[in-house]
Amino acid sequence: MLITCPYCGPRDVIEFTYQGDGNRDRPDPASQNFEAWNAYVYDRLNPAGDHNEIWQHSGGCRAHLRVVRNTLTHEILSVAFMRGTHTSTARRKAEDKS
C-alpha cells in the first residue's frame, strides 16, 4: 500500500505508523466528563468502507496525516496534514446520526 504524504510524495506503507481512529475528540483537558474521556480513550469506529484515520509518516518527515481510507478496498481517498485540518467533530457527529 502506498500513502501519498503531502510533503514526501507517495511512500510505502512500511514508512508509516497507524495512529488510530481519526474521529475522536479529546475533551477539554480540565473536563471531568468521564464519559467523554472514556469515549476518547477507548471508543473506536470500525466502519466497513471509508474511514477517517490518523497515520504518522514516522519513517519520513514524521508529520501526522489525516487519511481517508476505504477499509474494504484499501483505496486512499485523501491525505492531508493533521495540523490545521482538525475537523473530527463534524465527521463524528455526522456518522453518529446515520
Binding site: D12, Y40, R83
Partner: protein
C-alpha cells in the same frame, strides 16, 4: 526406444558441454538446457515419486507449472527442496537429487501405497485421525502414533538444517510500466511503452525472453518467431528507459500496484560473482502494469494420465523446438482442441513418428486433418484414451470410441504402441496475479476457461491491462496487437505507430470441446502433485462438500507447491458435473501470493546476522577494549559487566557496585533517550506532558518527571533539564525513547497544534557518562575546568557547563545509583576522549567502570523503578510516585487516573523483598501467602527485578504485590514452580538502602 537429443534444432549450444549429477549419476547437457531437458535428452523418464501413492512420475510440463518432476538441489551442505526440474538451469557442478523415494527412485518401498488407494482417498486424515478415540485405530492419539511414519512416507523433499551462506538482497524499484511476461504480447507492450518514453520494466520467469516465440513454428515479419523475439529484446536492452529482468518471477500483486518479484540472479552459475546475491527480491512500484502472463495448458483426466511418458502437448513441442529433445520416438496425441496438432507437426519435423491423434471431437476441421496428414498421423476422431501401459516409461495406450455428448465409451478398446503420449485439455489463462489483485475471473464457455475481467471492473487500488493469451486471445496475431495496445495505454500514449508485425501461423480454433475427463476404470489424476484423483473429487461431493472452497481443503486439490496451476479447472469441472451445475455456478477460488514458491532468504534479505542494524554508543570500542561483556538492549549494545579474569557475572557486578558505593564508579549512559524540547511554549507543553510542574523549573536546573498515558497508567520517567528559557533537554528511558518521541509528536501535531514547540531526537548528539560514589565530586574537581563543582555551584539537580581535557561538557548532578552522582554530557564525537579523561582522573580515587548489572543492582537497592515496573499495567500510585501527581493542573492521563479500578486497595503495589533463606530470587517468580508445590496457586504478586545486594549482603528483589505497603514487615513466600524455587521472603519497603537519600545529597 527412449527420448533423445536431436541432431539439430533448439536453442541450446551443442558446442558447450555441461557436467552435472542427478541422484549421484554423472550426466552431460548443453548450455541452454534445463535439468529437465538435459535429463530427457539422456533418456531419463522417471523424475520422482508421487506424494501419497509413490507412483512413478515423469515430466508433465516444461515450465514453472511442473507438478511431478520436483528435485532437491544441493549446494555443499545446503539443500533446496521441491524445485521443478523444468526451472533448474544446468551448470557445471550442479548436484540434484530426486525426492520422496526410499531407498531409490527406481525401486521405492512405499509404492505399495498404490494398493491401498481406497484407504488413502480424500479425507483420509480427517476420517482416520480426528475426533474421539473409538477402539484402537481411531482418533488423535492414533495420529500421534502414526505421524512419524506418515510424515516420512508422504511428502516432498526435506529441508536442510545447514546454514545457508548465500547472499540475498532486496531491491526497490519504480517504473511507469511493469510488463509481466515476455511472450509476443509482453515484448510488444514493453516496446510500445518504451517508445513513448515511459520507464519500463520487463520481467519473465524464464531465462530467455520470448515466451512461446521461443518454441512456436510461426514466423513474425518473415523471420522465425524466436529471431523476431531476440531482435526485439536486443532493441529493448539498448534503451536507457528499459530494465530487463530475466529469471524473475513476479509472485505477488499488492495494493497500489506494488508487486513482488523474485530474481534468481546466480542459481544458474557454478559460482556467483563476487558480492553477487543468489536471489534478489524486487519490490516494484509501478504506475501501471501490463499482464502478459500467457496461459497454462491443461491435462486431460483419464486413467493412467500420470504415467511417465504422458506429457502436455505444448511441453513436447517446447522440448523439441527449444531444447532439441524428442520426448519419444513413437508419439501419440490425445486432445480436445486444435492446439495439439501444432505439436504433432513440430515433433514430426523434429524426427519423431506421430502414430495417432485421438481427438474427442467427432469432426476435426479440414485444417486439422491437413496438419495430421503433414505429421503423417492417423486421426482417431471421436476417440479417447482409456488406459496407459508401462512402468517407469510408457509402452502403450488403449483407445476407445467416445461420445462427447454423454461421455460414454463404446466399442472394443484398441491398443496403440507408443513411448510418449501428449495430451491437451485446452488452455487456462494465467490469471493468478489479476486474481491476487482482486479481479473476479469470469467463465468463458467458448474458451472453457476463466478469463480475467475487463479492466473497468477492477479493484480500485490496482490498475493493470491484460494482453495476449492472458486475456484468452490465444493467437500470436492477437497477442501482438493486444500487447502493443496495452503498452501504449499503460504509458498513457495515444499515437498510432507503424503497422503491426505480421504473423504467419497455422490456423487454429482457440475453443476446445468441453471435455475434461474420460470416465473409465483406473486412477485418473486431477492434481498430480497432491495425488488427487477424479474419484476423490466425487467422493468429496458424496460426503456433502458442495462449496469449491471446502472441496479444495478437503481433498487438498490445488494446495501443493504448484498451487493447482494445471489442476484447478479440471477439478472444478468434475465438481460441477457431480453437482449438476454449470462451472461458473461452482465458482473458483481466489489465487493468493506467491504465484510460485519464494525463498525465505530473499524475504529476510539483509536483515540477518551481521547486517542487522545495531546501535553503538560513542564509547563502544573502549568498552570492548577494556574487557566489557556486551549485552543487547533493544538495538543498543551496552556493557553488562567489566569482568576480571576468573570472575563470574555475579562476582563482577557485586565488585563493581561495592566499589562504586565505597569510592566511585562510572557508567556509560549515552543510550538514554534525549529529546530537545524547544520553543516559546516548551514549558507549558511539558506541564501538560508530565504529571509534575516544569514551568517553575529554573534555567540551569533539572527535575525528575513522570509521564502517564491517556488511560492514566504510568508511561515513562526521566529527568528534564532546563538549558534555557525556551530550551529543554528531556531524557527518557533507553527502551522508551522512540515511543516517547512519537507520543510528544502526536500531541503537538494532532491535539495541540497551536503550541509553538519543536521536538528533536538528540540521543545521538550527546555522549553521557554517569559518575557516582563518595569520591565522584573529587574526581570531577580533578579534571573539570571552567567551573567549580562544589555544592554551591552544583547543588543537587543543578547543571553547569565546563570543560574536560579541552572538550566542552555539560554536567548535571543527579543520581540513579543513590550515591552523590553526576551525569557528564559531551558531544558524541568527543565521548571517548572525555570518558578516558574521567577514568584517568579517577585512578587515584579507585574509580571503577560498571555495567548494566551493577547499575541494576544499585537501582534495586534504592527502589527506583524502570520498565520492569512501569510495565503498562501500573499506576503512579502503585509505584509510590503519587507525590509527583500535580493537583494544580491537568496533564495527560490526569482525567483517567482516578478511575475506580486504578485506585482500588487490592492493586499490585511496589514493595521490596528479602530472601529469608538467603538464596537467589528469580524475576517473574510469583509471591504467595502459603506454598503449595504440588498445586501452585494463590499468587499475590510477582518479582520484577532481583539481585544480590552487596550493600545489604542479602538476596533482594523488587516486586509488585497486592496491597503492598500494608504488608511491609510481613512474611510471604516465593513460588516459582518452573524453576523449582520456593521459599520464605520478607516484604519490606522498596527503598532498601539509604532511604532518606543522605548519600546522594551529600
Amino acid at each position: 526406444m527412449s527420448p533423445r537429443r536431436t541432431d539439430t534444432g533448439g536453442r541450446i549450444d551443442r558446442l558447450k558441454t555441461i557436467r552435472f549429477t542427478f541422484d549421484g549419476a554423472a550426466y552431460t547437457g548443453h548450455a541452454g538446457d534445463t535439468l529437465a531437458s538435459a535429463l530427457l535428452a539422456k533418456g531419463v523418464t522417471l523424475y520422482g515419486r508421487s506424494f501419497k501413492y509413490h507412483r512413478p512420475r515423469g515430466l508433465l510440463t516444461a515450465g514453472v507449472e511442473e507438478p511431478n518432476a520436483l528435485v532437491t538441489v544441493l549446494k555443499g551442505e545446503v539443500r533446496e527442496p521441491n524445485i521443478p526440474a523444468t526451472m533448474v538451469e544446468i551448470h557445471d557442478g550442479l548436484v540434484a537429487i530426486s525426492q520422496n523415494r526410499f531407498p531409490s527412485l527406481a525401486w521405492d518401498v512405499n509404492a505399495v501405497n498404490q494398493l491401498g488407494g481406497k484407504i488413502l482417498s480424500a479425507g483420509f486424515y480427517y476420517k482416520t485421525f480426528m475426533g474421539p478415540v473409538i477402539g484402537p485405530l481411531k482418533g488423535t492419539r492414533f495420529w500421534m502414533f502414526c505421524e512419524h511414519f506418515i510424515r516420512r512416507a508422504a511428502g516432498l523433499g526435506s529441508a536442510g538444517s545447514a546454514k545457508d551462506p548465500a547472499r540475498y538482497e532486496r531491491m526497490n524499484a519504480f517504473c511507469d510500466v511493469l510488463v509481466v511476461g515476455s511472450g509476443p504480447a509482453g515484448l510488444m507492450a514493453a516496446k510500445a511503452a518504451a517508445d513513448q518514453g515511459a520507464r519500463v520494466m520487463l520481467a519473465d520467469l524464464e531465462p530467455r525472453f520470448g515466451g512461446s516465440a521461443n518454441w512456436s513454428d510461426e514466423t513474425i515479419d518473415g523471420a522465425p518467431a524466436a529471431d523476431w523475439a531476440r531482435r526485439t529484446v536486443a532493441q529493448l536492452a539498448g534503451r536507457d528507459n528499459v530494465r530487463l529482468l530475466p529469471r524473475t518471477t513476479v509472485w505477488g500483486y499488492y495494493d497500489n500496484n506494488t508487486l513482488a518479484a523474485l530474481e534468481r540472479v546466480s542459481d544458474h552459475k557454478e559460482q556467483p560473482g563476487k558480492g553477487e546475491p543468489r536471489h534478489r527480491y524486487w519490490a516494484i512500484r509501478a504506475r501501471s502494469v501490463v499482464l502478459a502472463t500467457g496461459a497454462f495448458e491443461r491435462p486431460l483426466v483419464f486413467p493412467g494420465n500420470d504415467r511417465p511418458g504422458v506429457m502436455l502437448a505444448h511441453a513436447a513441442e517446447r522440448y523439441a523446438n527449444e531444447f532439441g529433445v524428442l520426448p519419444g520416438e513413437r508419439i501419440a496425441l490425445f486432445t480436445n482442441n486444435d492446439s495439439a496438432y501444432r505439436a504433432a507437426v513440430a515433433l514430426k519435423k523434429a524426427g519423431a513418428a506421430v502414430v495417432a491423434i485421438a481427438d474427442v471431437r467427432p469432426e476435426p476441421s479440414a485444417e486439422m486433418r491437413k496438419l495430421a496428414a503433414e505429421a503423417e498421423a492417423e486421426i482417431f476422431a471421436g476417440h479417447a484414451v482409456v488406459a496407459t501401459e508401462g512402468g517407469k516409461a510408457l509402452s502403450g495406450l488403449k483407445l476407445q470410441r467416445f461420445d462427447m455428448a454423454n461421455g460414454s465409451l463404446t466399442g472394443e478398446a484398441r491398443s496403440i504402441h507408443a513411448d510418449c503420449l501428449l495430451m491437451s485439455g485446452g488452455w487456462s489463462p494465467t490469471i493468478h496475479l489479476a486474481s491476487q489483485a482482486g479481479a473476479k475471473a469470469e467463465w468463458n464457455a467458448a474458451r472453457q476457461a476463466f478469463l480475467p475481467p475487463k479492466s473497468t471492473q477492477q479493484w480500485p487500488t490496482q490498475h493493470w491491462i491484460g494482453a495476449g493469451a492472458f486475456t484468452g486471445s490465444f493467437s500470436t496475431t492477437e497477442a501482438i496487437a493486444e500487447g502493443r495496445a496495452a503498452g501504449l495505454a499503460a504509458a498513457g500514449g495515444t499515437s498510432t505507430p507503424a503497422a503491426l508485425p505480421t504473423v504467419e501461423a497455422i490456423p487454429c480454433d482457440p475453443d476446445p470441446a468441453p471435455v475434461f475427463e474420460i470416465r473409465a476404470k483406473g486412477k485418473s489424476f486431477v492434481d498430480f502433485q497432491h495425488d488427487v484423483t477424479a474419484e476423490d473429487v466425487r467422493l468429496a461431493h458424496r460426503e456433502g462438500f458442495v462449496s469449491v472452497e471446502h472441496l479444495k481443503r478437503y481433498t487438498t486439490l490445488g494446495m501443493a507447491t504448484d498451487q493447482g496451476k494445471s489442476s484447478n479447472v479440471p477439478g472444478l469441472a468434475i465438481m460441477a458435473e457431480a453437482l449438476g451445475k454449470p462451472i461458473p455456478e461452482v465458482g473458483t477460488t481466489r489465487f493468493r501470493p506467491p504465484f510460485a514458491p519464494v525463498s525465505i532468504g530473499s524475504l529476510a534479505a539483509e536483515r540477518f546476522g551481521d547486517l542487522k542494524p545495531e546501535r553503538l554508543t560513542p564509547m563502544h570500542d573502549w568498552h570492548l577494549a577494556n574487557g566489557a561483556t556486551m549485552y543487547s538492549a533493544g538495538l543498543w549494545y551496552r556493557p553488562m559487566i567489566y569482568g576480571h579474569a576468573g570472575e563470574t557475572v555475579e562476582q563482577a557486578y557485586v565488585r563493581e557496585a561495592k566499589v562504586t558505593r565505597e569510592s566511585a564508579g562510572i557508567v556509560d549512559v549515552s543510550t538514554l533517550g534525549k529529546i530537545a524540547v524547544q520553543g516559546p511554549d516548551a514549558a507549558a507543553f511539558l506541564d501538560r506532558v508530565y504529571t509534575n510542574m516544569f514551568s517553575t523549573l529554573a534555567v540551569g536546573k533539572a527535575r525528575y518527571g513522570l509521564m502517564l498515558r491517556e488511560d492514566g497508567l504510568a508511561f515513562d520517567d526521566g529527568t528534564t533539564w532546563r538549558l534555557g528559557e525556551q530550551d529543554f533537554l528531556m531524557t527518557t528511558t533507553t527502551a522508551n525513547a522512540g515511543k516517547v518521541m512519537q507520543h510528544l509528536e502526536y500531541f503537538l501535531d494532532v491535539i495541540w497544534p497551536e503550541l509553538k514547540v519543536h521536538v528533536t531526537s538528540v540521543t545521538d548528539e550527546w555522549a553521557g557518562a554517569a559518575i557516582g560514589g563518595p569520591k565522584a565530586r573529587q574526581i570531577l574537581a580533578a579534571c573539570v575546568t571552567g567551573t567549580s563543582v562544589d555544592n554551591a555551584t552544583l547543588p543537587f539537580m543543578g547543571i553547569v557547563r565546563g570543560e574536560i581535557s579541552g572538550v566542552p561538557v555539560m554536567i548535571c548532578r543527579l543520581s540513579f545509583s543513590g550515591e552523590m552522582a553526576f551525569e557528564v554530557y559531551s558531544g558524541a564525537g568527543y565521548g571517548t576522549h572525555v570518558w578516558e579523561a574521567l577514568i584517568e582522573a579517577g585512578k587515584p580515587f579507585g574509580l571503577v567502570t560498571y555495567g548494566l548489572e551493577a547499575l541494576g543492582t544499585m537501582r534495586i537497592e534504592k527502589g527506583h523503578v524502570t520498565g520492569a515496573e512501569i510495565d503498562g499495567r501500573t499506576t503512579a500510585r502503585d509505584l509510590h510516585l503519587d507525590w509527583m501527581l500535580s493537583k494544580k493542573k491537568p496533564f495527560i492521563g490526569s482525567a483517567m487516573m482516578d478511575r475506580e479500578g486504578l485506585i482500588a486497595s487490592d492493586r499490585l503495589e511496589l514493595v521490596g523483598l528479602i530472601a529469608l533463606d538467603n538464596r537467589p530470587l528469580n524475576g517473574g517468580a510469583h509471591i504467595v501467602e502459603q506454598i503449595d508445590e504440588v498445586n501452585p496457586h494463590g499468587s499475590i504478586g510477582h518479582i520484577t527485578a532481583c539481585c544480590y545486594s552487596p550493600a545489604l549482603g542479602k538476596h533482594i528483589a523488587l516486586a509488585l504485590v497486592k496491597g503492598g505497603k500494608a504488608r511491609h514487615g510481613t512474611r510471604a513466600n516465593v513460588s516459582d514452580p518452573l524453576r523449582n524455587r520456593f521459599g520464605p521472603v520478607e516484604i519490606v519497603s522498596n527503598h532498601f538502602f539509604d532511604p532518606d537519600g543522605s548519600r546522594m545529597h551529600g
